[in-house]
């Protein structure tokens, strides 16, 4: 009996303890602040301040703002927008009037306990798909609200932001969105990034750089060098884009591994064009390997060519170990884990050369998606900025644990008199969210610098003078290639 009582007490204690633990999880979660509700006072221009619901995601001041609250504040300004929010999709229509749902600009209710997570919900602006991380939550009324970082919204609206005081935000609807990387650097914004660079690939001018001389792992942005050598081989007539290549056992093994992207069978045929698309859009490592084996006979020989090309281009910090950018190990007694690496400055030089000599690469990298002739496999471009900015023409993402999240972006910039290719390089951000945001900021900075020369034109000054003819050979070639491109597009 005593034993029965003891058993009963043990079981009852376990049960109650479990119930207590289960019931405490939400509280613990709330107390940990995974998404911490808050309020920020926001004004449009110099108007009145209104409360805007916020969520600090994971950390204090990692703040996401309620789009409905802000839409309400901006409804009578030039930057007004309407919203259409579903469970996992949000759509903004710029210039349209916002229809309130009754929850705007009121504080959080006590009972509200947001249970949402930050993710890449479907997002569109004026019907165009864009790539931003948002939080979507269901309101008591049954409607949904969407939370987005203020800087992301400012880039969408092209409105300038200011912080007049702690806990407040000013949206300047009369000013275009502007950033100063130097100020960001001083505020420690790039502390969590390995290196960045923004510049003009057509002229070689660097607008901004941060630790651009230090070599870092570059992950799959390696494939830009792989594709450069492939295009060289095509231009030299050693291979053709229509040529079919037999898939090797090594490529099949890579395809079947955790790092595989496109399923491949050894012995089957795949075209060079498919391999280029596969390597550049979804970052297929097996496609890069196939290209390497075809061009040089073996990957070892191809890697030699990569390093040789790097030397020819003056990429002083670049070292390649493979054609795809995955980590590999040395054959020492104690193997070392090694990765392809170069500096952001080297990458700028490489990409500038690639865009000048083989501008047709952006025909591939500007595609959002494609269908390979190999088993009709559909592939999607992993470059987030391609969806957010119409000027973006490429180029390549890269991610490994050591390299972090990397992105090399090219933009076609036009200031009314001349067209240039701008490049933004971001190496080693913490995650894909940060990679997209940092790249987006620097891309807008590069466009802003190119279009205005970095300074606002004074009032009353004459319009930009007609462009003088280029006096340098490569600049002349650039002009002529652009004419050829326009003629080519017109013909098509």
């Amino acid at each position: 009996m005593k034993q029965l009582m003891r058993k009963f007490i043990r079981k009852a204690s376990s049960f109650f303890l479990s119930m207590i633990l289960i019931c405490s999880i939400p509280s613990v979660r709330v107390c940990a602040g995974f998404e911490i509700p808050g309020t920020c006072q926001v004004q449009a221009d110099s108007g009145a301040f209104y409360p805007v619901k916020t969520l600090d995601y994971g950390y204090d001041h990692n703040t996401y703002f309620s789009l409905r609250d802000i839409a309400m504040i901006l409804r009578d300004t030039d930057r007004r927008f309407s919203l259409d929010i579903a469970k996992s999709a949000v759509s903004l229509n710029l210039g349209e009037a916002y229809s309130p749902v009754g929850t705007e600009n009121v504080p959080w209710e006590d009972r509200e306990n947001p249970d949402i997570s930050l993710r890449r919900n479907e997002c569109s602006v004026n019907g165009q798909k864009v790539f931003y991380y948002t939080l979507i939550m269901k309101l008591p009324s049954g409607n949904y609200d969407c939370f987005m970082m203020a800087v992301d919204l400012a880039m969408i609206l092209d409105a300038d932001l200011a912080v007049p005081a702690a806990g407040s935000l000013q949206i300047n609807t009369q000013e275009a969105f502007r950033i100063s990387p130097e100020n960001l650097e001083q505020a420690g914004y790039f502390y969590g990034v390995n290196s960045v660079l923004a510049g003009d690939a057509t002229t070689g001018e660097i607008y901004y750089q941060y630790q651009s001389d230090t070599p870092y792992s570059i992950a799959s942005t390696t494939k830009l060098m792989t594709c450069l050598l492939a295009m060289e081989a095509i231009a030299a007539g050693r291979i053709s884009s229509e040529e079919e290549i037999t898939i090797s056992d090594a490529a099949q093994r890579l395809s079947a591994s955790d790092d595989g992207v496109i399923p491949m069978e050894a012995g089957e045929q795949i075209t060079v064009q498919d391999l280029l698309v596969g390597a550049l859009l979804p970052s297929s490592n097996e496609c890069a390997l196939c290209l390497a084996e075809r061009i040089a006979g073996s990957e070892e020989a191809f890697v030699q060519r990569m390093n040789q090309k790097a030397q020819e281009l003056g990429l002083s910090q670049a070292v390649f170990y493979n054609s795809h950018g995955l980590p590999c190990y040395t054959e020492d007694q104690i193997p070392s884990k090694i990765q392809n690496h170069m500096s952001a400055g080297d990458m700028f030089r490489l990409v500038s050369y690639l865009l000048k000599v083989y501008p047709q690469i952006t025909d591939i990298t500007s595609m959002e998606d494609a269908t390979l002739s190999y088993h009709d496999i559909e592939v999607r471009n992993s470059n987030p900025l391609l969806y957010n900015m119409p000027e973006v023409t490429g180029l390549k993402t890269g991610t490994t644990n050591n390299a972090g999240a990397c992105l090399v972006t090219s933009l076609a910039a036009d200031n009314g008199t001349e067209e240039h290719d701008l490049v933004v390089i971001v190496l080693g951000t913490e995650d894909s969210i940060e990679r997209g945001r940092v790249s987006g900021l620097l891309a807008r900075y590069a466009l802003q610098t190119f279009r205005t020369g970095g300074e606002e034109p004074e009032e009353g000054t004459a319009a930009r003078a007609p462009l003088p003819l280029p006096t340098h050979a490569e600049a002349a070639v650039d002009w002529i290639l652009r004419t050829a491109k326009k003629a080519h597009v017109t013909e098509q």
Partner: protein, 314 residues
């Protein structure tokens, strides 16, 4: 060698031949005389010997010895006369030749004539063009290839000298503008051809395989810049040749000249900044070589265009 210089050399040679012939004749006469004298001496000696044989020693001692002494004396005199004659002939020829060279031969002091030289611009133009084209990414051209595009790029320089005194006269130097323009046009056409070839390569690399022949590339350049390739390069690329004004400032002018000890001094009297030029010169037939320019202290002043070889036109 030009026709005129050949004729001049021929006439000089024939003159020398005539003189040599005359002297040879004189010499041969002397030799004949010597031979005759020798024969005569032999005859006399023979006569003496016969007489001595017929008339052994003492028979007619006086006459034989007298004849013998006369024969020996005659031999010595003949030899002396021959040697002296030969010496005299040699001296005469030499003296005559020296007189001719000093007084009558034109030598290197008379520079009268219309001379023309060519300034070679190939190297300079090729190097300048190559330097500009080397900026192009991914394509290249060697200096040898560049020089093969640019051949025989020369600019004419006309120099007219008229001797009015023993070692001087007046001069006029001139660069014909038409020569400069022809050279410039040839240089830029060669430059444009090389640029078009490299452009065609870049167009093919960029995937524009169709329409990369010379005409298509030229059309593309015209569409881009609104002008031909030659015009674009003239306007925007570095100058392949020195300016005509710069060359004219260096060469054009008139004035007086003098020659002394291998130095040709030209005094300009047309108001140019540099009034006098001194150059080392060598005249050989119808070639006048100005090897280097010296300043008043005799030091050499470097100039890329030396040595300049002028050829006599008239």
């Amino acid at each position: 060698m030009s026709k005129k210089s050949r004729e001049a050399a021929k006439s000089a040679a024939s003159t020398i031949l005539r003189m040599a012939r005359a002297e040879l004749l004189h010499l041969s006469k002397a030799i004949m005389e010597y031979i005759l004298l020798t024969i005569r001496l032999e005859y006399v000696t023979l006569k003496v010997l016969i007489h001595e044989n017929l008339f052994p020693a003492g028979a007619l001692p006086g006459e034989g010895r007298r004849l013998k002494r006369a024969g020996r004396s005659f031999m010595k005199t003949t030899v002396k006369r021959t040697v002296l004659t030969l010496l005299f002939v040699t001296l005469s020829i030499t003296t005559a030749f020296l007189i001719y060279l000093h007084f009558l031969a034109p030598g290197d002091k008379d520079l009268t004539g219309e001379w023309t030289a060519e300034l070679v611009m190939t190297d300079r133009a090729a190097v300048t063009a190559l330097g500009w084209l080397q900026e192009m990414e991914a394509v290249s051209i060697s200096l040898e290839d560049m020089e093969s595009y640019m051949q025989d790029l020369t600019i004419q320089v006309d120099l007219t000298l008229e001797q009015t005194g023993q070692s001087g006269g007046t001069f006029r130097c001139h660069i014909p503008p038409e020569s400069y323009e022809a050279c410039s046009q040839a240089a830029y056409e060669a430059f444009a051809a090389a640029f078009r070839e490299l452009l065609a390569q870049r167009l093919r690399m960029a995937g524009y395989g169709d329409g990369t022949d010379a005409d298509a590339v030229e059309a593309l350049v015209e569409e881009t810049f609104g002008m031909s390739t030659v015009s674009y390069l003239r306007a925007c690329a570095p100058g392949l040749l020195p300016d005509l004004e710069e060359l004219q400032a260096q060469y054009d002018g008139s004035g007086t000249y003098g020659t002394a000890e291998g130095i040709l001094t030209r005094q300009f009297d047309d108001g140019r900044p540099v009034t006098a030029i001194e150059e080392r010169y060598i005249r050989q037939g119808s070639s006048l070589v100005l090897s280097e320019e010296t300043d008043s202290a005799g030091s050499v002043r470097f100039s890329e265009h030396y040595p300049m070889v002028y050829t006599l036109v008239h």
